[in-house]
């Protein structure tokens, strides 16, 4: 009995030794650009990838390579239900757990460029353990979405799928830009965007890009704090043409919630007299549509709300549905925006 167990132990050790041999061998690499614009070599065609930002998980799913992901961060993207079963190896406040990551034996770890000592320490540990780490720019920034897809396409060796996906997104972003770029300043409605009660965004946030692209003017663009809480009376005095309320939550909301939020905003004492409320131009949108892959859809909604006449032929929900069907093979569930 005891002897058998020892034999088994030796066998397991041998197996592990053989398994680890190919890892030591020369691997093909590919050169990509990281979050700081530097060229870095990462393994080509990695089979086991740990991906921390949920927006990047989404992108890998969209390229049809979701089953290469072996570990994820906290967020589970709504369009990738199967990612839920992946082991979660990080937490928002503590950052990535190096031991848990090493335990998954990944060929590549993809993180975003979050600042701070915790991710930095984790990266040091991972690299000294011989695990390549790629840091891509934060997926909340609007101009990083397409380069991110290209980079992932290079690493996963999926040129055709990448082109198709990038083409789909570019088509709509270009369409919005074409129709709004020539608008006179007077033709751009003033927009008040709210992340939570009276908390808005200034001109340095990604939201500025979305509002601007869709042909609107962010009333808080000049504020010095990035996400300031503003005086209700100031909003009232500025009298925005349109109010958009961002609704948070990891899963898509029901129509009831979106409608409730909108009606709550409308009936707030300081907002009742605002033009946007009087003209029934208060909208709610899921924050999911403000970053990553949702961004182009969010911008379509914005464009349609800011300039209904210019975008009469566009149905953002249909585009959203089409994107999910084509690239994720899932149906659109829940409500992401409420007019």
């Amino acid at each position: 009995m005891n002897k058998n167990r020892r034999m088994a132990g030796v066998l397991v050790c041998l197996c592990l030794l053989f398994l680890s041999l190919p890892v030591c061998g020369e691997k093909e690499t590919v050169t990509v650009v990281d979050a700081w614009g530097e060229y870095v070599d990462v393994p080509l065609n990695p089979e086991r990838i740990v991906v921390l930002p949920s927006t990047l998980i989404e992108l890998i799913y969209a390229l049809g390579e979701g089953d290469r992901i072996v570990g994820r961060g906290v967020g589970v993207p709504a369009y990738c239900p199967s990612a839920e079963d992946l082991p979660c190896i990080a937490s928002c406040s503590v950052g990535p757990n190096v031991e848990a990551i090493l335990d998954l034996n990944p060929d590549l770890v993809i993180m975003c460029s979050a600042k701070g000592t915790k991710p930095a320490t984790a990266i040091e540990h991972l690299q000294s353990a011989g695990v390549p780490v790629l840091r891509l720019p934060s997926s909340c920034e609007p101009d990083t979405l397409l380069p991110q897809i290209e980079t992932l396409g290079l690493i996963l060796d999926k040129q055709e799928e990448t082109d198709e996906f990038v083409g789909f997104i570019e088509e709509y972003l270009d369409l919005i830009e074409e129709r709004t770029e020539d608008l006179e300043p007077g033709g751009r409605p003033t927009v008040y965007f709210e992340c939570k009660e009276y908390k808005t965004v200034n001109g340095e946030t990604p939201m500025q890009h979305h509002i601007n692209l869709a042909g609107g003017t962010n009333i808080a663009a000049e504020q010095s704090v990035k996400r300031p809480i503003v005086s209700p009376e100031w909003v009232l005095e500025t009298n925005p043409d349109i109010i958009v309320v961002g609704v948070s939550g990891s899963s898509p909301r029901t129509e009831e919630v979106m409608r409730g939020t909108r009606d709550d905003t409308r009936s707030r004492p300081g907002l009742k007299e605002v033009k946007a409320v009087e003209e029934k131009k208060v909208y709610t949108i899921s924050k999911k549509l403000m970053k990553g892959i949702g961004m182009p859809i969010g911008c379509l909604y914005f464009a349609k709300w800011f300039h209904p006449d210019l975008f009469e032929d566009i149905d953002p929900e249909a585009v959203h549905r089409e994107m999910l069907q084509t690239f994720f093979d899932v149906e659109l569930e829940g409500v992401y925006a409420c007019p």
Binding site: V74, G75, S91, C92, S93, V94, K196, E197, Y198, A220, Q223, S224, V225, P228, I229, V230, S231, P232, E233, W234, V235, L236, E237, S248, G249, S250, V257, G260, T261, D264, P269, G270, K272, E273, K287
Partner: protein
């Protein structure tokens, strides 16, 4: 000869209490004046005349005021100003009573774990139950209120087991405070980005959510509990001479202690459930008053409340207007305005304020 002395003592007493009454009145007028001034301050460009006109037009059908001015002043500024006043009053009163009951200068709603309890309740609501905006707001408020009172009950229960000594009560409060802070840390640790931000936000505290519907509930509650607590002033005065003295004067020390503590707990809990944690005021207002008028609780309790209201109102007005339209969390401003003021009193006054 002895008749003269008695007469003198009475006169001295009358003069001293006259001074204290005057001080209370001055504070009251001060709060009113600042409130009136604050009504005309804000991000919207309304002149003083327009602001006051809007208030007057509500009562006298004389002046024509724009709806804009009316909404800004009546719907936005007034509830917030009132909220600052009643929050300041309740924190100041609760602080004075708690310090008096427990005869310890470091006691405040914060040290007794009430704030941590409320924060923990709010964090639980945020992590487990936030979602629907309307319902969500009240889920947080109710949870915070409930947990705050629960903390007081636990702290008192624990100290009961050891015969209600003051030291056990305070230490149990501090310990519970740490426990709840740990729970908050745990919740922060496991929560996602959105919830984390929400919790941090709540912990900072602020008055920007003030609305008439909250203020209307809070005003009578705060006034009622404050008056109720002032009825125990004599008992608190006797207790400050020591438990034995108080007992020999026929005061049921334990009973007074539990009543005063629970009343101040309800008082604090009901406001911080709406505002989030606003520290410092509960601790410092009583000391400021002791430095200025001594420790007679008949004056100390209302004055401490008024000082609390004054500091919070000034701070909140400053945080509304300093870099308007962006607002600064009130806790930051309270500390920046209140701490130098308190330190100045601390070094400049000769009175031994705590004996």
């Amino acid at each position: 000869m002895s008749d003269d002395e008695v007469f003198d003592a009475e006169e001295v007493y009358a003069r001293a209490s006259g001074k204290k009454t005057l001080f209370t009145l001055v504070l009251f007028v001060g709060v009113l004046a600042v409130a009136v001034f604050a009504t005309s301050m804000g991000a919207a460009s309304l002149g003083m005349g327009e602001s006051f006109g809007a208030v007057l037009a509500e009562f006298l059908p004389v002046e024509e005021v724009s709806t804009f001015a009316q909404v800004v002043v009546l719907q936005l500024r007034l509830p917030r100003i009132l909220m600052a006043i009643i929050t300041g009053i309740s924190l100041g009163v609760a602080g004075a009573v708690m310090q008096g009951v427990l005869r310890n200068p470091l006691v405040s709603p914060y040290t007794l774990g009430l704030s941590s309890g409320a924060a923990c309740g709010a964090a639980i609501a945020i992590v487990l139950g936030v979602g629907v905006l309307g319902a969500g707001r009240y889920v947080i408020v109710i949870n915070a209120f409930f947990f705050s009172l629960l903390t007081m009950a636990i702290v008192y229960g624990i100290s009961r087991m050891r015969g209600t000594s003051v030291e056990t009560l305070i230490l149990a409060g501090v310990a519970m405070g740490y426990l709840f802070s740990a729970v908050i840390s745990l919740l922060k640790y496991v929560s996602g980005n959105e919830e984390l931000r929400e919790i941090v936000f709540w912990l900072m505290g602020g008055l920007y959510t003030a609305r008439w519907e909250n203020v209307i509930i809070l005003i009578p509650a705060v006034l009622f509990f404050t008056l109720l607590l002032m009825r125990y002033s004599w008992d608190l005065n006797a207790m400050s001479a020591g438990e034995e003295v108080a007992s020999s004067l026929g005061i049921n020390v334990n009973r007074v202690r539990i009543i005063c503590l629970s009343l101040s707990a309800v008082l604090t809990a009901s406001v911080i459930a709406f505002t989030g944690i606003i520290g410092f005021i509960g601790l410092v207002s009583p000391h400021v008053c002791r430095l200025l008028i001594g420790s007679d609780h008949r004056y100390l309790i209302p004055c401490s409340g008024l000082i609390g209201a004054l500091v919070l109102l000034v701070s909140d007005t400053a945080c509304r207007t300093m870099i308007s339209p962006t607002e600064i969390p009130v806790g930051i401003v309270t500390a920046f305005i209140g701490v130098p003021f308190f330190l100045y009193l601390l070094v400049s006054r000769k009175r031994r304020w705590w004996q």
